[in-house]
């Protein structure tokens, strides 16, 4: 038995270590050794892989890393260790199905399988981006109005009532509550009052999070993100968020985002680190579901070839060995209003739905600019549904993903960042402006032709 309270004990009593030693002598060293031992290899021409034994190797290596490394707690400089039985208990008790949202807007979120023929759950929004308060409401409505979007994860607020919010100050409470008030209002106006949220994005420290554990803001059918820190670390702010939602009864979602080029090494080391993070994240936070977000140290985007390979191999490794409910992020370099974003969404979404994750996005420009809207997320949903309807297998998916990636991979250093939401949408009626709609229609046609999918 291992609850968040035992985890707190471990954070106070586990073995002591300097952070730098944990980064270099534990994570970096072990990831490298395991990649070598299991001969895990990334091939840019096989972004969606068909080799089941490689997926199993990645899983086994990740399990070993989880057992050998544990999680480093930054505040206490101690390692929170789990033994095999605790990790296995975390796997066995992980939900395979979950009802999220309320009433007519509720959905069953489930652990997706490889080449799964079920319709994926679509989570829409410019996850995590700082969105101006004047457009927060219409922008949120633009996602919730889309019938294909099942749940929402939008951005946060950096300005509230005209005041700049500084992290970990009283205004963070107001910003986080305002974010939730506006999301609730948007849900009502869009006619989706029960739609499930992943929210509280304005809560950078724990302050905002504590302030929204109330039916007025977050319902028990909603969720917040609790990150693992890079790599295999946590801190008291994260653990406090878990304690808050555990007692409140809403969902904890582990955000796992190892960096390709960071401590875990290249794409292969990151894949191993991902598995360890999911297993340890579950044992530690008792999260009901998880977010898979590989980061490319140069481009950030999950649509980078190395990142999509990670979504693929990690999704498959988990689906085969430890079926968790996992959302796969769709973060693009390009912004809404550009052509490039459609290729990125196409490749990233096909990868996710064929290899075991539900698409979450589109976080256009990686959340750097609020250049996003409901329309490109509709496209993400349409691609997801089309891929599943056409019974795309991994081999077929790979051909399409490689083809789509070749359209944008050389442009990632200088992407077309598109335009801000109010230039793309009529903000009063919350409908796409004619030019944006026309671009969407023409790109949809182009990508349907390129891929042969009926999008």
């Amino acid at each position: 038995m291992n609850s968040i309270w035992e985890v707190i004990d471990k954070a106070e009593t586990g073995p002591y270590m300097e952070e730098r030693d944990f980064d270099l002598k534990v994570v970096a060293k072990k990831c490298r050794e395991l990649v070598k031992e299991y001969e895990i290899r990334f091939d840019p021409n096989e972004i969606v892989t068909t080799d089941d034994s490689m997926a199993d190797d990645v899983y086994e290596a990740g399990m070993r890393l989880a057992l050998e490394a544990g999680i480093y707690c930054i505040n206490t400089k101690r390692i929170i260790k789990f033994d095999e039985s605790e990790i296995k208990e975390g796997i066995l008790s992980a939900p395979k199905e979950l009802v999220i949202g309320q009433g007519r807007d509720s959905r069953v979120l489930y652990a997706r399988g490889i080449e799964d023929s079920r319709r994926p759950i679509i989570c829409g929004g410019q996850a995590g981006a700082a969105i101006p308060e004047e457009w927060y409401l219409p922008m949120s409505i633009s996602y919730m109005k889309e019938p294909l979007i099942d749940m929402i994860n939008n951005g946060g607020l950096a300005i509230v009532e005209g005041r700049k919010v500084r992290t970990n100050t009283p205004l963070e409470i107001q910003a986080t509550r305002r974010e939730l008030t506006m999301l609730r209002e948007a849900a009502a106006r869009a006619g989706r009052p029960g739609i499930s949220f992943i929210a509280g994005e304005s809560s950078v420290s724990v302050l905002g999070d504590l302030a929204i554990a109330s039916e007025r803001y977050m319902r028990p059918s909603d969720a917040h993100l609790v990150a693992l820190l890079n790599e295999l670390k946590t801190d008291y702010d994260r653990i406090s968020k878990v304690v808050n939602f555990t007692e409140y009864g809403a969902f904890n979602v582990t955000l796992v985002d190892p960096i390709i080029g960071g401590y875990a090494g290249g794409p292969e080391g990151v894949a191993v680190c991902f598995i360890a993070s999911f297993l340890l994240g579950r044992a530690m936070y008792r999260s009901e579901y998880h977010v898979c977000h590989p980061i490319h140290f140069r481009y950030m985007s999950t649509s980078a070839v190395e990142c999509m390979w990670n979504l693929n191999i990690v999704g498959q490794a988990m689906a085969r060995n430890a079926p968790f409910i996992i959302m796969g992020d769709v973060w693009t370099s390009a912004g809404a209003g550009s052509e490039m974003i459609f290729y990125e969404i196409g490749a990233n979404t096909i990868t996710n739905v064929v290899t075991g994750t539900h698409p979450l996005g589109v976080s256009a420009t990686n959340g750097k600019y609020p250049h996003a809207s409901g329309l490109e997320t509709r496209f993400m949903a349409e691609v997801a549904v089309a891929a599943v309807r056409s019974k795309l297998n991994r081999k077929g998916a790979n051909d399409l993903v490689v083809k789509l990636a070749s359209e944008y991979k050389d442009k990632m250093g200088k992407p077309d960042i598109g335009r801000p939401f109010p230039e793309l949408y009529d903000v009063n009626r919350v409908i796409p402006k004619p030019e944006w709609n026309a671009l969407y229609l023409s790109m949809k046609k182009k990508i349907s032709e390129l891929t042969g999918l009926d999008i």
């Binding site: 980064d23 270099l24 970096a28 490298r32 700082a130 946060g156 950096a158 700049k164 919010v165 500084r166 992290t167 970990n168 963070e172 910003a175 304005s202 950078v204 420290s205 820190l229 890079n230 801190d235 960096i259 390709i260 080029g261 960071g262 401590y263 875990a264 090494g265 290249g266 080391g269 140290f297 140069r298 990686n366 750097k368």
Partner: protein, 220 residues
């Protein structure tokens, strides 16, 4: 072993992040009568610039760069005192105080910038993450820094960068330091709008800008 071989071994020890080898060849260089500054520039720095190149092409990753920096530091601990003793040329390095600013724990980008600065010969004081602006200024005063560099990935920590510049002005210290800012949501335009001296899209630009500013503002 001739001089060129020793210098090559010094470069290799940095590239492979081998601390022991780096120290060993630093000693060998001195024994062979190589000028310590030559050993630094044509041995260690040559290795480091290779490391920087490989990292930017993702041939190697963060840990390798950190280990290279460690190896370089180890060799420098032998070569620098020797250079000082010999009084050859100036060893004075430009000093940078860097940190991820208040409220923000995103430190990977900052670590990369700090490392690349170090690899390019700067003396770097890295104060870590969630660093109050006060501490940045205090440290800069204490070590006589040339540059204060602040990093953030959070829009809600960007105002602290504005606070940093106001506080420097209020204390009459603004002209004493070059202020550089960077990190995810920070843009070139915004950096200019708050009156920062420099900005960098990535680690390489950060180094380039730091060097240019030093020359322009401080004549170094």
């Amino acid at each position: 072993m001739n001089h060129e071989e020793i210098l090559q071994n010094l470069a290799d020890s940095v590239i492979s992040g081998d601390e022991e080898k780096a120290k060993d060849f630093a000693k060998k260089a001195l024994e062979a009568g190589i000028d310590p500054l030559t050993a630094i520039n044509e041995g260690l720095m040559r290795g480091m610039s290779q490391v920087g190149d490989d990292f930017s092409k993702l041939k190697i990753y963060l840990p390798e760069v950190m280990m290279a920096a460690e190896a370089m530091k180890a060799a420098l601990s032998i070569l620098e005192p020797a250079a000082l003793q010999k009084g050859t040329g100036t060893l004075k390095k430009s000093k940078v105080v860097i940190g991820t600013i208040t409220g923000d724990i995103h430190d990977i980008g900052k670590n990369i910038v700090a490392m690349l600065l170090r690899a390019n010969g700067f003396e770097v004081y890295d104060l870590g993450r969630d660093v109050p602006i006060d501490d940045l200024i205090k440290k800069a005063e204490e070590v006589g820094a040339d540059i204060i560099a602040a990093s953030t990935l959070l829009s809600t920590s960007m105002p602290y960068m504005e606070d940093l510049i106001s506080l420097l002005k209020e204390r009459g210290l603004r002209d004493k330091y070059i202020v550089m800012v960077g990190g995810g949501p920070v843009t070139r335009e915004w950096a200019a709008s708050i009156g920062a001296d420099g900005y960098g899209d990535d680690g390489e630009e950060a180094v380039k800008v730091a060097k240019e500013l030093l020359q322009r503002v401080k004549g170094k």
